[in-house]
Symmetry: C2
Subunit: 394 residues, 2 copies
């Protein structure tokens, strides 16, 4: 059957046809997608439930004007399987994938909540930093040059070339927010800061470097979009979803996305005067990096490539990942403030607070990008945060 | 017809079948290959001549024990065409390629001489540094992130993934020479220096970094093997051949290969006491880099990616290419001394002089690798050469 966008009936028929649900079962189905690129259905029978996720051939938020290869659905399923193989505890299970309908069946995670929602609600999510660090250390090490045979790595790089979705990141993270562009969505109160930022030549030079690094540094198979809306969590459980942006890129991009999103939550709570929670978020950033660093460094010691078994080099590699991480965290703060895609952490604030939170995000983002090149420790982040303006509501 | 290794008769039949030579023409044909991976035939008719080059499914020098994908013949033809498109003056013309026989027909360059031979003979080759700089600046810029559309670049990266031949470089440049390995070929007089070098932890750390950069930095479509045996030259003419090692890698690797090979010739002539010629070789290294730097920098100004149009960033990019260049030049000196593949510049010396030339190559190679990270100007090379031991024969 040629590709056709599902409605609820078609999603159920698909699950039955693939043998995940008995042909005569009663199934209730509702579309639950709030993403921009896919249709997502929740299927419930008397004794089981699943998610059916189907790629659309265009970006949903901008109608059919932004065509996107359906190939990304294959990539998403394969990234989740690849990461799930080496970090099974932290990745949503892919139960089935069909290349004709570009549709995937996943385990149902509706007993969990999106991390972004929990962060907005000021919940201290158990082991959040540690779990995300373990997920990234294990999956990013496993597909790196340290672990993979060079031929196998090259085959995987080719398998995960993801031009359409990488282009979105290339444009929306590294290009549009640094100049006047119709895709930007700039809150009026942030306009002046945006224009000042566009004149900062050193910032633009550093962002160019981060962009080229994103384009041409296939260190490992990234998730590519580990923001707090790609993570489900609940008591004793954390699961990463939505890997359609996966490709071989710089490790610091994934690591920096996590920190960038925790800092966006920090901008919210610092502005609201929730200082205890803001401090917890900072602590989680530090825990996250320290855990990632120690676990990833421990894995490096077992490198399969004898030429890379050198402690001095491995320390330098991790030190560079930290610099990249802080730089990419900075670009996440900036693009979520000036670019196309904002976050509810900030946009759900009333206008006056939103303006203040956006100032925080922009000044912190800029400081991170500018300082990242010289960073030798995650302590830099605490230093930068100490310099942040006192919260408005305090 | 399934793949079959040609003899002279088959090479002629192939050229006739492909329509390059009339079916009834008288053709003389001789095998002229001295490479290790291919059969090379020279075909001569009354009014024309060609080269037929066919890939062997194994490395010729080690019998059938080192299998190599025939795919590399496609890659070679496509790299030569891709570089020829943007730097036609400096690249051998590919007249035909057949994917079934993995055989390519090229223009005949037998009126020219291999550059290595001319360097060994102490010929001051006209415009050598300039011509090689123009070749590399034009071809490496054209396939970089500055010029290519990101989607087009990713498709090309995939098209030029070259696992078998990259593995040769990965092993023979960056792994074997830095430890005891059966593939090494160490001249007895250099044994002690080799063992000392293997204990130099900082050197090993820097070489690990250069290896990872080679593995995971697809900056542009490289030739991949621009040593002086891959260059033909004659009055007013210079042509690069043998691009089967081509892939998307770090620009400094190609640029450093040129400098490394000029320095191998320098080790020969400095040891022989040919100081005027040795000085000319150094001057050519400087001319080569300066020309490359100015031409490549001028091209960067026209970058198609608006996010990369930033003079500050572009200067940093070129500065990093210089560091890579010096590092890779250093690894070329070391691997040509301790590794599997030596160069006639050194091996054709008598034993006593060879021992001295190898000492030069090793100490210069090591100094280049160690200093490359901090290099801010090509002047570093002259500084290092001034510190070289006085020539033996002087």
């Amino acid at each position: 059957m040629p590709y056709q966008a599902f409605d609820s009936l078609a999603a159920v028929a698909f699950a039955k046809q693939r043998g995940l649900i008995a042909a005569d079962a009663d199934v209730s189905c509702r579309e639950i997608g709030d993403g921009n690129l896919n249709l997502v259905f929740h299927l419930q029978t008397a004794d089981s439930s699943f998610i059916v996720k189907q790629a659309l051939p265009y970006a949903r938020c901008v109608g059919e004007s932004w065509p996107l290869s359906l190939e990304r659905a294959r990539i998403e399923a394969e990234v989740l399987k690849a990461h799930g193989k080496v970090a099974p505890e932290w990745v949503v299970k892919v139960l089935d994938f069909d290349l004709e309908q570009y549709a995937m069946v996943e385990e149902d995670l509706s007993h969990l909540e999106l991390l972004r929602k929990r962060l907005i609600n000021a919940e201290k999510v158990d082991n959040m930093g540690q779990n995300l660090a373990d997920y990234l250390a294990d999956s990013l090490y496993a597909y790196s040059d340290f672990e993979l045979d060079p031929k196998q790595k090259k085959a995987l790089v080719s398998q995960f070339i993801n031009p359409d979705l990488c282009l979105i990141t290339e444009d929306l993270f590294f290009t549009d927010p640094y100049r006047e562009h119709e895709r930007n969505d700039i809150f009026p109160a942030s306009r002046q800061s945006a224009e000042a930022l566009w004149q900062d030549d050193e910032l633009l030079a550093r962002v160019a470097e981060l962009k080229v690094h994103f384009l041409s540094c296939p260190q490992s198979l990234l998730h590519g979009d580990v923001h707090s809306g790609s993570v489900f969590s609940g008591p004793g459980e954390l699961k990463v979803i939505d890997a359609e942006f996966g490709f071989f890129g710089p490790i610091g991009f994934d690591v920096g996305s996590v920190i960038g999103n925790l800092l966006l939550a920090w901008c919210r709570h610092h502005t609201l005067g929730n200082e205890a929670y803001a401090a917890w978020l900072v602590e989680q950033c530090l825990v996250f990096w320290q855990r990632f660093e120690s676990r990833f460094s421990a894995l490096l010691k077992g490198s399969k490539d004898v030429a890379l078994v050198n402690a001095r080099y491995q320390r330098r590699f991790v030190a560079k990942v930290l610099q990249d991480t802080l730089g990419y965290a900075g670009t996440e703060l900036i693009r979520r403030t000036l670019g196309l895609a904002h976050v509810a952490d900030i946009t759900s604030l009333d206008d006056e607070l939103r303006a203040k939170a956006e100032q925080q995000a922009l000044s912190l983002g800029k400081a991170l990008v500018l300082a990242s090149d010289e960073a030798t420790s995650i302590g830099l982040l605490s230093e930068l945060l100490k310099k942040a303006p006192v919260s408005a509501a305090a």
